[in-house]
């Protein structure tokens, strides 16, 4: 039951990712990516991480991708100058290398040198309170640093998109 559910979600996720890369319209790409994020959120639920699943949807689907759509629509660049490809030989090389990576990873995963210990009793490690306790004790410093990072990003984005006024030296 669970494995069937996993396989369906996984196929959906992969399909959405492939469609994202293949779409010629940037808005369609963005939508496929949103579907992919939803698939990953469902997988987080399967992995006992409900908090992350919700964060994934709120931040990725609800904020980041909306920002993408906003910029695409603002620039009116959904079709793009896509056909001008300066490096035509890159595509087949990328495909071959990608396939190689998957095969190697698959080999390494399913023929491991040393067996990996597995926990048969997964407990509620993904519950919000457990995560919060850890986040605000052990990982307090990184947490504060991310807040600074967000502030820097905020200021950076404002500065980058600010129209220089008359008399400004930029």
């Amino acid at each position: 039951m669970e494995i069937a559910f996993f396989i369906i979600t996984a196929l959906l996720t992969i399909g959405a990712a492939v469609a994202m890369v293949l779409s010629h319209n940037a808005v369609h790409s963005a939508l496929w990516l949103v579907l992919n994020f939803f698939g990953v959120a469902v997988l987080y639920l399967l992995l006992n991480a409900p908090f992350l699943a919700m964060v994934q949807i709120t931040v990725y689907a609800g904020a980041i991708m909306v920002l993408f759509l906003f910029v695409i629509m603002l620039l009116g660049s959904e079709q793009g100058q896509e056909e001008v490809n300066g490096l035509p030989w890159q595509t087949p090389v990328a495909l071959v290398m990608g396939l190689l990576l998957v095969v190697m990873a698959g080999y390494a995963l399913f023929f491991p040198g040393t067996p990996v210990p597995t926990t048969q009793t997964p407990n509620e490690i993904g519950a919000p309170d457990i995560l919060a306790r850890k986040l605000f004790s052990t990982y307090l410093l990184p947490f504060e640093i991310t807040s600074v990072l967000l502030l820097v990003a905020l200021i950076g984005a404002v500065v980058l998109t600010m129209k220089s006024r008359e008399g400004d030296r930029v």
């Binding site: 699943a53 904020a63 909306v66 759509l69 906003f70």
Partner: protein, 392 residues
């Protein structure tokens, strides 16, 4: 219980909820038109049936038989799914809303149905779920505007994206205040099994997350959150931000008729238009219900606890449902009243309000709530409850 039986029960309850929501939508439109008319010294629709009772039916029938037109240059696929993308998040929001306490159906369905919650599901990330689903509600409007290939629609769509993302911050922070006011169960509460743990499996009370919507309502047994000083301010912010989030007047710039023809739904007709229309109203009901749950004490009201302790669980359950609906209608009435009273904001005013007023105020409020909660935690329980003092 067998997993399939559970699944079918859930599907059945979902279906009931779906039908209830769509009916509520239909009559909300009538309610709104009648109230608006009254506020503007008109009569309002009163011809179809007694007092206009069948007006929603007539409207639906009319929309069904309208010709459906797709603009030639529209992005067909996106144009078609956009109304559904608007509708689905609006409906899904109802999954975690506690409409009432519980019913006792053991005389009908056996011992397993002694505590049947009037709520579809309670998850330990309930409030986050609400935020997540609200945040994806923007897609329908934005994509509808973009895919129509009409500059007015497109402007509406762009406005929607910017507006909803901006106001989500203030909305999230005001909800955070409500969560901070949700106290952890006391040892005494833990000893008497809490309602939430009775209704949704026997998890220990101490482990019920403060993000669970059921727990939030339960903890408002003393003071409702709106009666707490910080809660009242947070409620004000929540109301403004949620009105902007569901793009209702006075924040309805997305479909400003005077400047954008009709906004994002200009090119939509027939059932696709009806879906957008429905989504808008259902989102309004949903966000009002969230407000009732978070700030107005949900299903709580005088007499519910008494009826439970006297041993009339079914009467008490129905009374609690009645309280919830009463508060919901009051909330909706207020929203309609504001729509009839206030003119539309300008776009720069909207952005100023969101980013320069609501966001700093709500950030400050979160800090103040936290300080109060720590300072008052060892005081008199009534004062501690008033400021959401948490207990260790």
């Amino acid at each position: 219980m067998n997993i399939w039986v559970r699944l079918i029960t859930l599907l059945f309850v979902s279906l009931i909820l779906f039908l209830a929501t769509t009916t509520a939508f239909a009559y909300l439109t009538l309610f709104e038109r009648r109230i608006l008319a009254r506020l503007q010294n008109r009569v309002g629709p009163n011809r179809a049936g007694p007092g206009g009772f069948f007006q929603p039916l007539a409207d639906a029938l009319k929309l069904f038989f309208k010709e459906e037109i797709t603009p030639a240059q529209a992005d067909k696929a996106v144009y078609t799914i956009a109304p559904a993308l608007a509708m689905i998040p609006a409906i899904v929001l109802f999954a975690v809303i506690p409409f009432g306490a519980y019913l006792d159906l053991s005389f009908l369905l056996g011992e397993a149905a002694r505590y049947v919650p009037i709520q579809l599901a309670d998850v330990n990330v309930g409030v986050l779920f609400l935020l997540a689903v609200t945040s994806i509600g923007v897609y329908g409007v934005t994509l509808g505007g973009w895919s129509s290939n009409n500059k007015y629609s497109m402007l509406g769509g762009i406005r929607a994206a910017a507006q909803m993302v901006s106001y989500e911050l203030a909305l999230g922070l005001s909800i955070l205040v409500a969560i901070m006011l949700t106290t952890t169960p006391t040892t005494q509460e833990a000893a008497n099994a809490s309602l939430c743990s009775l209704m949704f499996g026997q998890q220990p009370v101490a482990e019920i997350s403060a993000l669970s919507t059921c727990r939030i309502v339960e903890s408002q047994g003393g003071w409702w959150n709106i009666f707490k000083p910080t809660g009242l301010l947070a409620f004000g912010i929540f109301w403004l931000a949620s009105t902007a989030e569901v793009v209702r007047a006075p924040f309805d710039l997305v479909e400003a008729e005077q400047e954008l023809v009709g906004g994002f739904n200009t090119e939509y007709s027939s059932m696709k238009f009806a879906l957008f229309f429905m989504a808008e109203y259902i989102k309004l009901i949903a966000i009002s219900a969230i407000g009732v749950v978070l700030f107005l004490g949900g299903w709580r009201g005088p007499g519910v606890d008494l009826l439970y302790s006297l041993g009339y669980p079914n009467v008490a359950g129905l009374v609690s449902l009645g309280y919830f609906l009463l508060k919901l209608i009051a909330f909706l009435f207020f929203s309609i009243w504001v729509r009839a009273t206030l003119p539309r904001f300008k776009y720069n005013q909207l952005m100023d309000l969101g980013w320069k007023r609501l966001l700093p105020i709500s950030l400050g409020l979160v800090a103040v709530t936290a300080v109060f909660a720590v300072v008052t935690q060892d005081m008199n329980p009534y004062i501690a409850g008033l400021f959401g003092g948490f207990r260790r």
